[in-house]
Structures are given as structure tokens and as C-alpha cells.
């Protein structure tokens, strides 16, 4: 037997594991970020490190007696490792209700620690061929098994978390943690129940490494990928091993030769690996198929798609193929491709798979926060992130509904350029109800690049196709245009001819009909057009113009007389221009028959004479000025003499500033400037006019008031070059207006006087009614009461009657008081305006049940009896209007005195008075208010906002009062 104590392979592993565990513990502590679970796991690592060090101590012990001491310490730490790991899973999974178990677990460690020194757990150690082995006591196995129970609980915690968690990475991490714990368990079982060399040390090491990686690494490898790759390499290794062994065997069998030297073996293996390289791909495919079954086929199909996609140029076909294939490959319930809309205001569904009624219209606007986020982040987005990323949490309801409608779970942006989002592939829930793995996301990211290329190709193709179509359409339009032109010329009432090489090469139907020559005659090279078609007086004009045109000079339209075959003449306006005809230069002439226009001109001339006669005979003065020199008269009617005393010549020689008074001239010029500005606008009314009241200077030095109506004189092209003015003497009208104003003033004074008299009368009546009638009634009531008490008790009918009379008088007294108060509230005379307003507001509130607030600012409100009465009556009128019409729930009354003004404002939140109601001639209440305020030189402002209320503001200057 070899003494294991001197064997390095026996002694060194525990030391190496100790060092490694310490290093891992440092890394985990450094990366713990104050996360409790990581700190506890640090404790696990340190415990494993300590356990390994104790193992080294045991192995290096010189005898079994010393070794047993180390062994006992190892067992205590071993128990601690179990419990710490369990504690770690409790904190890591946030498991509830395990506090008591945790306390029990630590109690178990304490119990174990107490038992271990006795022989109940370990009786001693013995020698085995590999080194020291424990001799377990009666409690050894139960203690170990109960420790394993805690590991079982830890695994249960992890499995629960695995079940609850939706996050793919989290689930993978937990799988690693569960697998890792199997290694030390296996080691413990092997050490406890077999005589094999110690395996726990290696089991613990693997456990520590796997767990540390699982905790610290964020995106762990998918276990299935690890298994898949491992199997693939195993298969390849077998494939290489078989020929290798076959070669060795063959050599040995044929020549019993051995391959020497040793480096020949690696060379053979390398050569075999190179030669069998294709087999690796085959093995990989075989394993992939084994793992992914039908999905594998779809992945292949996707590869196929990426090849074929380049050849699909129809955008719609491409979109539909793409969604179908991706949906099949990843086994998703739905897939939808969003592409930019035609109007480029957002993204619309271009194709969809697995959706009943995909959304129509724009699903996501360009301004959408989701689009902005995808453009900025340029990565795949999961629907869970809509509840995490702040911007995406704020998607509008409409867009959320749209995305819900397409069952979106994953959004894959498709970029054709770094900042150009060309589409979004939206995938629905996977049929397996699992989340998308990292591998699938990577696949989709890669695929999005291919999609982008394919889409871009299709889009470019579509654009070029569109260009071709447009060109075809343009050619077609040109053809149609030519045909239309020909038809137009042919059917034109004008005479159209083409003159080329000294004769007509084309004449239209109208020319033949009008002139009485046939087409062939007119287009014959021997036909002398000038001689035969122009009147004698026009021939020289035609010849001159032809000569000029041949010299390349421009010829404006001109008039000539043409003659027909039978010799009758008619006037025409000739338009000419150089054209290309039959790919040769030519001149086109258009002869417009202007016989009717000539006749119309003659009529206009006659009409002008008539109008001039009319203008000269009416009493109004008519004049015109040039638009560019508005101070200079171009025409004035003879009636000016009647109005101003000037002759027509005198008036025409005068400037406008001399005709008008300076103020009137200024007004007229300002109005002209404004009108010119309006004239410059496109939407200006053509036949608008403007009326001004001005004053004109007479020849005798007096001034006459006139009403002048200005308008623009327009030609056929609607342009104006003249301003027409019609002035009317309004001396009489002005006089009548003045008389009317004086009459109004008198009426107003009368109204004020009546109002004042009425107020005095009211006060007097109120006092009389209150004092005289009220007192008389009170006395009557007292008399009646006296009589009632003295009536014999058997006169029940009389007693009853007098009682009723007394009640009636009481009611009458109340009525008298009310009438008196309504006529003139005593408080106004006794306590002043402020108290009266307070009373009125209170009374209004009680009467109408409308909340009414009063605020008053300023010093004392001692305003004098008349003004106080006016203000009070205005308030009364306003509140009456509120109660009758406003339908308000709240009224604010404010009275401010200050700055030389008294301002009363009543504001309600009712329906708001309309402008029509304010201006209605039968709004007598408002008219009365205005009249009252006018007599105090004040003003009333009434503003109504529909639905918001009405504000009545009364301002009265106080200087008169003061």
C-alpha cells in the first residue's frame, strides 16, 4: 500500500479547492452589491473553502487518531454548508414562512456540533488504499440524512421559484443552481456509502463554480444549448475515434507494428478531424433535429427564405411570406409586419398571420413613443417592457389597443440604415406559452437584417416600377394631349392655319368654312394667300408683318380685314407664333373674328356718352382720380359748380387737398391707403365700396358736409386704374341729425327727471304706506284685540270672527311692510348704500336660493342720496335679470371705490347673455341701466360668455359727486 500522506495527488486537491473557494468568495463579495442572498452565498463558499482546508488537515495527519479530530471538524462544517445553502435559497427565492425551519436548521447545526465530538457520529478513521476514511457512529448516517433533508428543502424552494418566474434568464439561473447542488450530493453519497476514492471534494468544487457563475452571470447559456453542443462534439469525437482505432487496429493486425514516435498520434487525429470536417456539420444537424424536431425544419426554411427573399420583389408577397415563415419557425400564435404608410404618417399592418381581424389604418404614428424608442435603442423590445420603460408606460390608449389587437409580445425593428426604421415585425405569444429565449432573440436580430435588405430591395423595385409606370402614363398623357389639341384646333371657331415654305400646309375646318375655299385649295403651294384672303387695305400690313416675322422680330397681335371667296370682308385679330410642324420650322396663325367685338365697342361708346350725360345732369358730384396719383382729378361732373361754386375746369385744376378740408383730406388718404392694402390681397372683394363723411371747401370759403362713396373702376381684366367717387351734399341730413340729438338729450333729461321724481314719489309713498297705513293697521289690530278680550265668552261666533279679523290685519301689515320695502328700502336712506346692497344681496339669496357673495373695497360708501339710489337700482335690475334669465348657481357682487371711480361688478356663472340679447331694442331693463349710468357720466359693460356666465361692470366717475 502506498502511503497516501506522501502522495501529492492526495494532498494538493483540497488545498487547491480551498484557494479557489476563497477566490470565488472574494469575487462574489465584491459583486454582491449589498444583496443579502449573495452575502449568504459568500458564507457558503467560505465554508466550502474551510471544509477543504480541514480535509487537507485530515489527509496530512500522521495517524488515525489525529485524523479523526480533523474529520470531526469537517463534519461540523459540512453541516454548516448544508444549512447555509438552504438559508441562501430562502433569501434568494424570497420564500415565505420558513423562518421557523431556518431557526430549526441552525439549531440542527448546533446539535450536530455538540454530537460530533462524541463517538455517536464518528467513531474513528480507518486506512483505505486511497487514504483516510471515516468510521461512522450510530448517529452518523441519521445526522447526514437529516442534513440532506435541508438540501431537499432548498431544491424545493428553487423549483417553486422556477415555476413562478416568467423571466427566461431567471429560470435558467435556477436550473443551474439546482444542477449544481447535485454534484456535492453525489460526492457525499459516494463517500458515505461506497469505498471509492473521496469524491466530495470534486463535487463541492464543481458546485461552487457552477453556482458562482449562475449567480454572477446575467445571460447564462441555455442548458439545452450546452447539452446540444456537448452531444454534437461527443458524436464527432466518436466519429473520429472509430477510424482512429480502426487505423491502430489495422496496423497492429497487419504488421503488429506500433506507431512510433508518440507525436504521430496527434497528427493522425488532426488529419482525421480535417478530413471528417463535413461530418461535424452532419452531426450538428442530426443533434439539432433531435432537439428541435419540427422547429428545426422551419429554421431551415428560414435559411431558405433568406436566400429566396432576395428574389421576391413584390412587397406584399414578401411581407406575407415573411410573417408566415417567422411565425411558423418560432411557433408563434401570430405575426404581423408593420410598414410605413403611404402617407408616411405612421406604420400600418402590411401583412399578418394568425390574426382574425388585424387593425386597419395607422397602428403606430411616427410621433409614437414606441417608434421613438425603437429608433433610439435599435433593439428588440418585449411587451413586458411596455410596463417597465417610462416612455413606453405612457403609450396612448389607442396605440395600446392597436397593439393588443395584434397580440404583440415581441417587437423586432427593421432598420435599412442606422437611423431609418423601415418596418416592425410584431410577434405574438409563443404557442408553447414560453417566453422568447436569448437565442431566439439573436436569431430574430440576425433575421431583421435580412428582412431589411429584402424589404429595401422590394421597395426599390416598387419605386422603379412606379417610375416606369409614371413614364408610361406621361407618354400616354402626351399622346392624349396632342389628340386633344388637334381636336381643339379642328373644332375651334377661330381660323387656324400653319404657314410653311411660302404657303399654308394646314388649315382648320373653320377656316375652310368661313373663307369658302376647300382644304386642298388653301394648302396648294400655288395659292396666294395674301392676295386672295386679305382685303386690299390690309395687304401691305400683312406683307410687312410676314417680312418682320421672317427676320425673327416679335409681332404683337394686330387687326386686319379678311375677305371670303365671294368677296365679303370681316375684321380679324391676328395672333402668330413660330412652331415646329412636321419636324420643320413653321408659323402658326390664329385669326379671331372680331366682328361682334367691334359692334360691342360701338355700343360701349354710345353708352359712355349716355352715362356722361347722366353724370352731368345729376345733383351728386362724380369725380375720378388716377390710382397712382390720387390727389389729381381726372374727371369731375359739372354738378360740382352747384355744390362748390367752381367750374369744371377750376375744379379739375385743383388738387384734392385744396378741395377737402385738411382733416377730411387726411381721412380720405388714410382710407385710400387701407383700401390699397386690401386690394393687394387675393381675396379682396372686387366691387366693394367705402363711404366717408367729409367736408369740402366751397369757392366762397364756406364748408359743405358731403357723404362720399369711393369705389374702384375696373377693366375687363378686373384690374383697377381709377378711383370713382360720388359726393352728396348732406347739409340737410346733418341738420336733422343735430335736431334729433338735441331731442334725445331732452328726452334723456326728461327720463332722468321722471326717474328722480318717481324715486321721490316712491320714497314718499313707501313712507306714507309704512308710517300711516302701517300704524293705522297696527292700531286697528290692537283695538280689535281689546274688543276681543271684552266680548262675552258665550259669543263664540263673534270671538272667532274678531280673531280671524286680527289675523287678516296681521297679514295686511306684513304686506304693507313688503310693499313699502319694495318701493324704497328704508335701509338705503337710514344706513346708506353699503347696508342696502347687503340687504339686497341677502334678500336675493333667500328669494332665489342662489349663492350670492358680496365683496366691498374702499373707504366709506357715502355717495350722496341720488347716486346711491342709482347704484342700488342698477344692482336691483341686474339681480332681477340674473334671477330671470341667467340660470346661475353662484353670483358674485363686488363694489369698489377708489381711484376716483365707483365700480360695481355683478358676475354670475349662468348660461351667459348673448350679444343679441344685449343689443335687443326691447331689453328695457338694460336700456334703463344705461340711461341711469349715462346721467352720471359713467359706463356699463356687459360681457357674456356662453356656458360660463355674464359679467356686468358699472363704472361711475366720482369727481362730480366729490
Amino acid at each position: 500500500m502506498i502511503n497516501p500522506i506522501s502522495n501529492a495527488s492526495y494532498l494538493l486537491p483540497p488545498l487547491a479547492v480551498t484557494a479557489l473557494c476563497l477566490a470565488l468568495a472574494i469575487v462574489v463579495w465584491y459583486k454582491s452589491n449589498r444583496i443579502s442572498s449573495r452575502k449568504i452565498f459568500c458564507g457558503v463558499l467560505l465554508s466550502v473553502g474551510l471544509w477543504s482546508f480541514l480535509t487537507f488537515g485530515m489527509r496530512s495527519s500522521p495517524d488515525v487518531n489525529q485524523a479523526v479530530l480533523w474529520l470531526r471538524a469537517i463534519l461540523v462544517i459540512g453541516l454548516a454548508i448544508y444549512i447555509l445553502y438552504y438559508h441562501f435559497t430562502v433569501v434568494y427565492t424570497n420564500a415565505k414562512g420558513q423562518r421557523i425551519i431556518l431557526v430549526a436548521a441552525y439549531a440542527y447545526v448546533i446539535l450536530g456540533t455538540a454530537l460530533v465530538p462524541t463517538n455517536l457520529v464518528v467513531e474513528g478513521t480507518r486506512w483505505e488504499n486511497y487514504g483516510y476514511a471515516p468510521v461512522m457512529g450510530p448517529m452518523g448516517i441519521p445526522l447526514t440524512i437529516s442534513g440532506l433533508l435541508f438540501i431537499g428543502l432548498a431544491i424545493r424552494n428553487l423549483l417553486r421559484q422556477h415555476h413562478d418566474s416568467q423571466a427566461y434568464e431567471e429560470r435558467t439561473r435556477i436550473r443551474y443552481l439546482i444542477i449544481a447542488v447535485l454534484f456535492p450530493l453525489l460526492g457525499a453519497i459516494l463517500d458515505g456509502f461506497t469505498n471509492l476514492p473521496p469524491a466530495s471534494i470534486w463535487g463541492n468544487l464543481i458546485f461552487c463554480i457552477i453556482c458562482t457563475v449562475a449567480i454572477l452571470k446575467y445571460n447564462l447559456l441555455d442548458i439545452r444549448i450546452v447539452a446540444r453542443k456537448s452531444l454534437a462534439y461527443l458524436l464527432v469525437s466518436i466519429l473520429i475515434a472509430i477510424p482512429y482505432i480502426a487505423i491502430l487496429y489495422s496496423l497492429h493486425y497487419i504488421s503488429e507494428a506500433k506507431l512510433e514516435p508518440w507525436w504521430v498520434h496527434p497528427i493522425i487525429i488532426l488529419l482525421l478531424a480535417i478530413v471528417l470536417r463535413p461530418l461535424y456539420s452532419w452531426a450538428q444537424h442530426l443533434i439539432d433535429r433531435l432537439f428541435y424536431r419540427d422547429r428545426y425544419d422551419y429554421l431551415r426554411a428560414l435559411e431558405q427564405f433568406s436566400r429566396e427573399a432576395q428574389s421576391i420583389v413584390n412587397l406584399k408577397e414578401l411581407s406575407s411570406t415573411l410573417t408566415r415563415l417567422v411565425s411558423s419557425a418560432l411557433r408563434t400564435s401570430s405575426a404581423c409586419l408593420l410598414l410605413p404608410s403611404e402617407s408616411d404618417n405612421g406604420f400600418v399592418s402590411a401583412s399578418a398571420t394568425g390574426l382574425g381581424n388585424p387593425t386597419s389604418g395607422v397602428a403606430l404614428k411616427n410621433s409614437s413613443l414606441l417608434i421613438k424608442w425603437l429608433k433610439l435603442q435599435q433593439r428588440i423590445l418585449s411587451s413586458e417592457e411596455l410596463n417597465i420603460v417610462p416612455q413606453l408606460q405612457s403609450l396612448s390608449l389607442r396605440e395600446r389597443n392597436n397593439l393588443e389587437q395584434i397580440g404583440a409580445k415581441l417587437y423586432i425593428p427593421i432598420f435599412t440604415a442606422p437611423d431609418q426604421l423601415s418596418g416592425i415585425l410584431v410577434l405574438g405569444q409563443k404557442l408553447s406559452q414560453q417566453t422568447y429565449s436569448s437565442e431566439e432573440r439573436q436569431l430574430l436580430t440576425a433575421l431583421s437584417g435580412q428582412m431589411a435588405m429584402a424589404l429595401e430591395n422590394a421597395r426599390l423595385y416598387a419605386a422603379s416600377q412606379q417610375e416606369v409606370d409614371e413614364r408610361k402614363r406621361a407618354e400616354q398623357a402626351l399622346r392624349e394631349s396632342e389628340e386633344k389639341y388637334r381636336a381643339l384646333v379642328e373644332n375651334s371657331p377661330n381660323l387656324v392655319v400653319v404657314y410653311q415654305d411660302g404657303h399654308f400646309t394646314y388649315v382648320n375646318r373653320a377656316a375652310c368654312n368661313k373663307l369658302g375655299w376647300t382644304y386642298e385649295e388653301l394648302t396648294s403651294p400655288s395659292f396666294d394667300a395674301v392676295e386672295k384672303l386679305a382685303s386690299e387695305g390690309s395687304r401691305h400690313i400683312v406683307r410687312e408683318n410676314i417680312a418682320k416675322r421672317l427676320r425673327g422680330e416679335y409681332i404683337p397681335p394686330y387687326e386686319i380685314n379678311m375677305k371670303t371667296r365671294v368677296g365679303s370682308e370681316f375684321p380679324v385679330l391676328v395672333y402668330g407664333g413660330a412652331i415646329s410642324y412636321g419636324e420643320k420650322p413653321a408659323n402658326e396663325y390664329n385669326f379671331v373674328d372680331i366682328t361682334e367685338r367691334k359692334q360691342a365697342e360701338a355700343q360701349v361708346r354710345e353708352s359712355e356718352i349716355r352715362y356722361r350725360l347722366l353724370a352731368e345732369s345729376i345733383s351728386d358730384v362724380i369725380w375720378t382720380v388716377d390710382i397712382n396719383a390720387p390727389t389729381q382729378l381726372t374727371y369731375i361732373s359739372p354738378s360740382v359748380t352747384r355744390l362748390l361754386g367752381y367750374t369744371v375746369e377750376e375744379a379739375t385744376s385743383k388738387k384734392m387737398e385744396e378741395v377737402f378740408t385738411p382733416e377730411s383730406f387726411e381721412i380720405a388718404m388714410k382710407a385710400l391707403a387701407e383700401e390699397m392694402a386690401i386690394e393687394g390681397r387675393e381675396q379682396a372683394k372686387l366691387y366693394r365700396s367705402r363711404i366717408l363723411e367729409l367736408q369740402m371747401n366751397c369757392k366762397d370759403g364756406s364748408v359743405v358736409p358731403v357723404e362720399v362713396r369711393y369705389s374702384f373702376v375696373r377693366g375687363l381684366d378686373e384690374r383697377s386704374d381709377q378711383i370713382l367717387a360720388i359726393g352728396r351734399d348732406i347739409t340737410e341730413r346733418k341738420r336733422a341729425e343735430e335736431e334729433l340729438r338735441q331731442s334725445h338729450e331732452q328726452l334723456r333729461n326728461l327720463s332722468a327727471h321722471i326717474e328722480s321724481a318717481r324715486e321721490t314719489e316712491r320714497t314718499s309713498i313707501a313712507r306714507e304706506v309704512h308710517d300711516e297705513l302701517g300704524q293705522a293697521l297696527t292700531a286697528l289690530k290692537m283695538e280689535l284685540s281689546w274688543m276681543n278680550k271684552r266680548l262675552p265668552k258665550d259669543q263664540e261666533a263673534l270671538i272667532k270672527k274678531t280673531g280671524e279679523m286680527s289675523n287678516l290685519i296681521g297679514t295686511t301689515i306684513q304686506t304693507v311692510k313688503r310693499i313699502s320695502t319694495e318701493l324704497r328700502p328704508g335701509v338705503l336712506d337710514d344706513l346708506g348704500l353699503m347696508a342696502a346692497i347687503e340687504w339686497q344681496v341677502q334678500e336675493f339669496q333667500e328669494r332665489t336660493r342662489t349663492k350670492c357673495e358680496l365683496t366691498a373695497e374702499g373707504e366709506d360708501m357715502n355717495l350722496g342720496r341720488d347716486l346711491a339710489t342709482a347704484v342700488f337700482r342698477i344692482l336691483q335690475e341686474t339681480l332681477t335679470n340674473v334671477a330671470r334669465h341667467a340660470n346661475a348657481t353662484r353670483v358674485k357682487v363686488s363694489l369698489k371705490k377708489g381711484g376716483g371711480q365707483l365700480v360695481l361688478q355683478v358676475r354670475d356663472n349662468g348660461k351667459g347673455i348673448t350679444k343679441k340679447q344685449i343689443a335687443h331694442p326691447k331689453s328695457f331693463g338694460l336700456i334703463g341701466m344705461r340711461e341711469r349710468v349715462r346721467s352720471w357720466k359713467g359706463s356699463v359693460k356687459i360681457d357674456g360668455i356662453s356656458g360660463k356666465g355674464t359679467i356686468v361692470t358699472v363704472s361711475i366717475p366720482l369727481n362730480r359727486e366729490e
Partner: protein
């Protein structure tokens, strides 16, 4: 499982932080993008509702600019009587609950809350809890089951209703149990809450800063002579008491609330937070974490993890701001429509009135909150926040203008009083005229014996420190603008008792700190006289 509990179960810490506090990482452009997106969504939702039509007419703005141009600024009166009558037919979305304010302005404001809005409020509430307990960026120290000690008025008060709404999305332990303590009055509920917290422990305490300080002061005085009670004989209470006793002995000081209730965070709202930050930290172990809330939207802004300034929450309401100069100039002209600016247009060190438009189909559009805020910085580098930082300054009208030279508000006056170190029960201040001179009259009830002139001088000196404009008054006008009236001890207490007997609402138990009504002042003076005569 409740909806927010699921997130805590499924998401990593980094993702949890991003979900709740990610808005603090937004750039100003991203913030405005969110606001615009949700505003257009809001217009779409409310345009056809009765209230929407009343405010916007038959117009449907197509852009934010158009919205700001054609929709008038509104106040609560514009929504009347629909809101006070709880007319659901006038709203765009069916509300899940109706809440009302504490009736500070004299009458209740009823506001409807839809489900979607409440979900967002819950998320912001959790954000506030996370930020309050974080201590550093990216840390999440809150989880379902968190124990929260908050003394709140019951539903339909906004705060009480919101607490209930949050409970429907996140599981937490409310201390005291609102259902069990609903019948108790405010003081009793506070007592019951702290007793429960003593037994079960507490993670977060939410209260008004001055109340916490008062409890702290009374507690440190009372612990000098702890009275035995059978209720203390609970194992957990004994354990907590012994721990607290050991801790205070180790640090050689009297026992403080932080020893008995070692919470992770203190959440507060109100103008007094900044004033009592140090005192709260002294008694409760943490400086308070503040938020800006209102009946109209509950959360408007929250503090970052470093507990400095407030940052607006982007997805509850659309924010506009009326520059204070304009607000002040036209404050009496109700018809004037002042121009507003957006958050990307505000300037540092300037005051603004807040205007909000609620999202998610809620009814308030361009609604003037009546709150004045101050922009203190354009970013918070320490917390990594790239958005304007603000503090709540005061309510509109709750200020005292001294001859146009200085404007004192509740915060400034309170800060000055607190800085003097005088022990006081409560105070109230208003403007006073004498001839053509203006003064600030301070009615204060002290807890110690001092002379009026001494107090006047102390407060005057502190006001000069707290408010730089105030400092110049003396040199310009050659007068000391502070006039103090000392109220007898117990005056405010008697006032509150009187009000309680009258059945006054919680918010009306005390007179306003700034510009109380003439009637309130007279009553305080009468009560003070009555105490003296007694």
C-alpha cells in the same frame, strides 16, 4: 396576487427601479414627448364629453400649441355644478371613485378618479416609497408587505381614498388598520398607530413634519419617566423597548422615537418639511422624503433618492406654468388669459403658478392649481436627474406683501420663527396698516416666557436672514415691519376644541397660518383674553 406584487416577484431590481423611478432618468425632450403623447390622447378622450365640450367648445385641438391657444384656463368654478353634484354623465370616463379635498378654500372640491389614473397614481406612490428608502440610485428596499404607518383622514378625503386605491394594487400592512380605527378621532388613531408599530415594527412613516417633531419633543420629555402599562407586557414590545433602551444608553442620550421605531424612511408633504428637516432627522433617524401632492391629481412631483428637490412626474398630468410676474400683474382680472410656458421653457430661480391638464380621460383641462412653485435648478447632478428641480412655495394669495418691497409667505415666516429656537405652539400672521405704513402682525402662542419686544427683534433678525428682500425694508422705510401679539398658552388648543365642537372639518380646525379671516383673529384674541382672566 395583486398587480404590483407580481412586478416585485418577476422583475429584477434594476427593472423594478426602471419601472417605478425610471422617469428620473428622462431627458427634458423625452419628458415633453410623454406629456404631448398623453395630452393628445386626453384630448381624443374628452372632446366628446359634456365637460370637455363645455371647456373646449366644439373644437378638437390637433396639437399642443393649438390646445394652449384655444382652450381657456379654468378654475373649479368652470366645472360646476357637474363635479360637486358628481354628474358622471358629464365625464369622459366612468370614475372608480370620487374624492374631495380638505375644503381649504371654504368648500369641498370633488374630483372623480378613473381606474387608469389610479393605477398610475399607485405606481407613483410606490416610486415615492422606493425613492424614500433607496439611499442610492438603483436600490429597491421596498417589497410587498411593507409596513406603513400613516395617519390619514378616511375616504372620501383624497388621501384616505388614495391609500385604499393603492391597497388594491400592492399588498402592504397599514398601521393602524384603517378599517379598525375608522371610528377613532385623529389623536386616538395616532396613538393606536404608534402602539401597533411598537408591537409589529414599521418600515415607513408618513406624516406632517411639524407633527413628527412635536411627537419627538413630547416623546423625549415623556421617556424620562415611562409609566408602566399592561399593554407594554407583550414579548415583542419588551424586546423593542430593551433594544431601544440599550441603543440610547450606548449613545448616552434619552430614548428617542428612532430607537423604538427604526423606520427605513419618513415621508412628508407640506411647506413645513424644509423647515423641520433637521429636527425630523434628529428624532426619527432620517431626514424626511417629500412629495408634492394635490386633490386634483394626488401626486405632482416627488423627491429623488438624495432627498433634495422635487421632480415632476410626467404621466399623470400635463404641466403648464404661468410666470409669477404675469400671474401677479393680472391676478385681479379674471378674464385675462395669461400666457403659459412648458417645463422645457422654465427658468432657474423663478416662480410659477402651476396649471394642469389631467390625463386618462379625467375632466380638468388647463386647470389653475393656485400653487406657486419655484424652480431651484435645471438638473440634479448628484441624483442624475436631468429635469428641472422645484420646491413648493405657497398657495396663491397666501403671502404678505410689505409695501411692494418683500413678499413673505408661510414657508418664510415659519422658517424664521423656527430659526429663532423659541418653543411655540402655533402662530398666525396677517398684514396690518398704520397710516400709510404696512406691517406684518404675528399672533403667536409660546411655550416659554418671553417679552414681546424680544420676540419681535428675534423674528425680525431671522426674517432678514431667510428673505433677502426683507432685509432691505428697514433701510428703505426706516422701520421694523414685524409686530407681535403674544397669545396666552392654550389659546390655539381652545380654538381647535371650539371648532371641533362646531363640527368643523379637519382642515378648518386651525386658523390659516397666513392671512386668516378677521373673525379668526378676533376669536383668537378673545380666547387669549379668556385664558388670562381665568
Amino acid at each position: 396576487m395583486l398587480s404590483e406584487d407580481k412586478y416585485f416577484r418577476d422583475l429584477t431590481v434594476a427593472k423594478l427601479w426602471q419601472r417605478y423611478c425610471g422617469f428620473l432618468d428622462l431627458s427634458i425632450g423625452e419628458f415633453i414627448d410623454i406629456q404631448e403623447e398623453l395630452l393628445m390622447d386626453q384630448i381624443e378622450r374628452v372632446a366628446d364629453s359634456l365637460l370637455g365640450k363645455k371647456i373646449m367648445g366644439n373644437q378638437k385641438p390637433e396639437s399642443v400649441e393649438e390646445f394652449r391657444r384655444i382652450v381657456p384656463l379654468t378654475t373649479y368654478d368652470d366645472y360646476e355644478p357637474y363635479l360637486s353634484e358628481q354628474r358622471e354623465d358629464a365625464l369622459a370616463v366612468k370614475p372608480r371613485l370620487w374624492c374631495h379635498s380638505s375644503g381649504r378654500g371654504g368648500y369641498f372640491k370633488w374630483i372623480p378618479y378613473g381606474s387608469e389614473f389610479l393605477e398610475k397614481v399607485t405606481r407613483t406612490c410606490i416610486a415615492a416609497l422606493v425613492l424614500a428608502t433607496a439611499g442610492q440610485k438603483g436600490r429597491v428596499n421596498v417589497s410587498p408587505g411593507v409596513r406603513i404607518l400613516v395617519i390619514l383622514p378616511p375616504a372620501p378625503y383624497t388621501s384616505g381614498s388614495m391609500f385604499q386605491a393603492v391597497a388594491q394594487h400592492l399588498s402592504f400592512q397599514a398601521i393602524p388598520d384603517p378599517e379598525k380605527t375608522q371610528s377613532l378621532d385623529f389623536q386616538e388613531r395616532i396613538r393606536e398607530g404608534f402602539h401597533m408599530a411598537l408591537r409589529d415594527g414599521v418600515d415607513i412613516i408618513g406624516a406632517i413634519a411639524s407633527v413628527l417633531v412635536r411627537i419627538g419633543e413630547e416623546f423625549s420629555e415623556a421617556t424620562q419617566s415611562i409609566r408602566f402599562s399592561w399593554a407594554l407586557l407583550h414579548p415583542r414590545i419588551i424586546y423593542r423597548l430593551s433594544q431601544a433602551w440599550l441603543r440610547s444608553k450606548r449613545e448616552k442620550r434619552p430614548m428617542l422615537p428612532k430607537d423604538l421605531w427604526p423606520a427605513k424612511a419618513i415621508l412628508t408633504g407640506g411647506v413645513d418639511t424644509a423647515i423641520y428637516t433637521e429636527d425630523v432627522a434628529k428624532y426619527w433617524g432620517h431626514s424626511p422624503h417629500e412629495f408634492y401632492a394635490a386633490t386634483e391629481s394626488f401626486f405632482l412631483a416627488v423627491q429623488g433618492w438624495n432627498r433634495k428637490c422635487l421632480t415632476f412626474v410626467p404621466d399623470l398630468v400635463f404641466f403648464e406654468f404661468i410666470p409669477y410676474e404675469e400671474q401677479r400683474e393680472y391676478k385681479d382680472d379674471n378674464d385675462y388669459q395669461p400666457a403659459t410656458v412648458l417645463l422645457d421653457e422654465v427658468e432657474e430661480e423663478k416662480l410659477y403658478e402651476v396649471v394642469i391638464t389631467q390625463f386618462y380621460g379625467m375632466p380638468l383641462l388647463r386647470y389653475r392649481m393656485g400653487d406657486i412653485i419655484k424652480v431651484t435648478a435645471m438638473e440634479d447632478k448628484e441624483a442624475g436627474v436631468k429635469l428641472p428641480q422645484i420646491v413648493f412655495q405657497r398657495r396663491v394669495g397666501e403671502n404678505i406683501n410689505l409695501g411692494g418691497l418683500a413678499e413673505l409667505d408661510e414657508k418664510i415666516i415659519w422658517q424664521a420663527i423656527a430659526n429663532t429656537g423659541i418653543r411655540f405652539a402655533d402662530w398666525s400672521a396677517c398684514k396690518e396698516y398704520k397710516g400709510n405704513q404696512t406691517f406684518i402682525r404675528l399672533y403667536i402662542e409660546l411655550k416659554e416666557q418671553r417679552e414681546t419686544e424680544e420676540i419681535e427683534t428675534m423674528i425680525d433678525e431671522q426674517l432678514k436672514i431667510v428673505d433677502t428682500d426683507y432685509k432691505d425694508i428697514e433701510s428703505y422705510l426706516d422701520l421694523k415691519p414685524v409686530r407681535v401679539t403674544l397669545l396666552q398658552p392654550g389659546t390655539f388648543q381652545r380654538y381647535m376644541e371650539e371648532k371641533r365642537k362646531e363640527g368643523a372639518d379637519l382642515a378648518h380646525l386651525k386658523p390659516a397660518h397666513v392671512n386668516p379671516t378677521e373673525r379668526d383673529i378676533q376669536r383668537l384674541l378673545e380666547l387669549s383674553r379668556m385664558v388670562t382672566e381665568k
